[in-house]
Symmetry: D2
Subunit: 233 residues, 4 copies
């Protein structure tokens, strides 16, 4: 589970890398999150050597990983996937086979895009509650009892109210995923104004130096990071 | 639980209305969802007659109501609220006392604003999945296993994919609540760009004649209702 | 040319006000900018006394006023308008008769909405130029030679680059007009996402204490007023 | 003035291309609009052969080209620029030297981004005027007398009202420029919510098959292309 495309490519193409070992009857599974182009490059190189390739990025961050609750989004060689199911059942909560190479990366982007939008929705709700005389904590309590209750609000809501943003999922990575999701939309002529607005809020957060904080730090932008009347020119 | 301000006012002010009956030692509880101004009007009239008033709008729609799972957002007269707790415990899952008159209505607006934004996030995710070669149903399955799993996605996701929008919460009412929430933000100088973008999508849905459908019909706008190449001038 | 609805109503309805003087054969022209409801109220009161009423708000701010270059947006009594043309030709550059009461106010809102959006477009362009290594002043020069050259960019561009926002049109009034324009859109189911985004930027500016500055101070929000890394929680 | 990066590269790198001819004392001027990366590639190849390179994309479309009114945005080799000034004075209205390679392309993107936002502002204003009982043509007349009067509104406004979108600048190219401008902003952590909203409107237009029409066809999206009640699921 490497952290970026260049690492993923390096492990495959460099000296003593995967390509020197791979061959017919052998498979390579990469659980990193990389873009579809990188995944395709690796897949073709592996297949050219007679091997089988499966991308298997995971969805979920620190806590689910520790609890073995990751969701595995596999795509590529179906027989290799079938052979991996026992291992996946140990590593994670559930695995999906999504079809052709690139689909695992895409699914992850879509999930993270919805998550990033929702983090903005929560931030705006908390700020509105606070500024209009309600208790943001009470808003969290009410949300947790209703149709839109979800683990992310339950976990992040209280730390946001404390102004605590120790990074489980760094904001700069969240924003990168939103950018890639919007680009995927652009390729397919899908207009997504709410996600686009959320993406701009994350960019504003980066511009204010919050990129290495948890992505929930976008709340600081909604509240008016550095503002509160100090924005006089 | 009346449906709009004029009905709520009528019941209080008209002949044979509440004001003819109310007095010292008596309380009036209105579980309608009305704006803070209407609530204040009723509250003052009731108090002037020596009575006590409690607004107690509910959060949750058809299904939670049937299941006795509504959340009650009360505000106004605290002793009257305390006296109502046994009745509230039967009617709903939990009740909150939120302080001064108007706070019940405000809390409901904030909750519905977050819900309306999230409905747009889901719609955009489903559309992106679909147009980029993924299965929207699989997206729903993946979301339901992760940090942002919630009852609304679980309930509405499948009906949206079927294009079925039988109204549990009409879109025009959802959009009205978003408008009022944004107005509350405006009064308090709270900028909420993601909710504003969601509100515009609901307005677009109204302009396409979807106002009486369930608010999940905003998915039709995201998909390009009536579009798909038929938008040639 | 009064500054707000209560002043406009006061002048008409109070003791020694217009209603005491008005009657058949007399006309009252109000060049204030008020909302359509206030205008309608005045119009009905004046007509009830047998008089004629014309609303005639103006478009343009300090400089055009000084130069006699205002545009007059009249609506209401057509014969009264015809009688006013000579006076209007002195007061302003051109006058329009827009039909029924309220249309003058509406036209002004639409114009100011387009203007507020454009001020955001300019702000974003200047900021992008600056942060990507171009000269914002050169951007202004290039814009002034092209298809989108306009007096507002020419006049405000340089003062924005100097961080000088002496109010010709206060930001809080600009934002109020955008809010009213969006509300007019809401009434008519017109979705306007770009104007909605511009309106949120003006609200953010108000939240940072910029409401009394010129509306071009929204540039400070785009640049990251009070931010620049100082947004650390 | 080639139309895209691959053509621009081809002319330089292919057999019988520029690189076979270029050398010390010779210069190559490319007036195509290409991205900064392509421009840099060409520049390095030319400089390696001892030649000088100048990128000189132009701003302005069909009409200004015919009238010799283009604005030339040059960057790269300063002495080569100086030598080109007489030629530029004939080709266009004015030329700028913007510094290092890539700056010409960037400036053009910023200008087109502001233009694309403004086209959305105009579209929203026209639609609001129309739906709220005003004459869109009168709005154009009023705008043309005020602070935001500009040649683009004057030229495109009437054709938009006729539903006539014969392409002077195809919408798909406009949206591509907005995408690249937003990407430039992303690289530099510049949040631009109004431009982002405008970009989504252009994407929606592409999804409705309007990509080959003039970019003013985004008006169809604002009006509700294909909608008007036909959006029933």
């Amino acid at each position: 589970m490497l952290s970026d495309p260049s690492a993923a490519l390096s492990v495959v193409f460099d000296k003593d890398g995967v390509l020197e070992q791979i061959g017919s009857g052998k498979g390579y599974v990469d659980m990193s999150t990389v873009d579809a182009a990188t995944s395709t490059k690796i897949s073709e190189a592996v297949k050219q050597k007679g091997g089988a390739f499966l991308e298997a990025p995971v969805s979920g961050s620190k806590k689910p990983a520790e609890d073995g609750q990751l969701v595995i989004l596999a795509a590529g060689d179906k027989p290799l996937y079938d052979g991996m199911i026992p291992a996946f059942d140990v590593l994670g909560k559930k695995s999906f086979f999504l079809g052709e190479i690139g689909n695992g990366a895409k699914m992850k982007l879509v999930v993270n895009m919805v998550m990033g939008s929702m983090m903005n929705s929560l931030s705006e709700g908390l700020c509105l509650a606070d500024k209009s005389g309600l208790s943001p904590q009470t808003l969290l309590d009410v949300l947790d009892l209703g149709a839109i209750a979800n683990p992310m609000f339950k976990l992040k809501g209280p730390t946001m109210l404390q102004g605590s943003y120790s990074p489980a999922f760094p904001l700069k990575h969240q924003q990168k995923d939103m950018r890639l999701a919007l680009a995927l939309g652009d390729e397919n002529a899908v207009a997504m104004p709410v996600s686009a607005a959320a993406n701009e809020a994350f960019k504003k957060a980066r511009s204010l130096g919050l990129g290495d904080q948890d992505f929930s730090a976008v709340y600081e932008v909604v509240k008016g990071a550095g503002g509160s009347g100090s924005g006089q020119p």
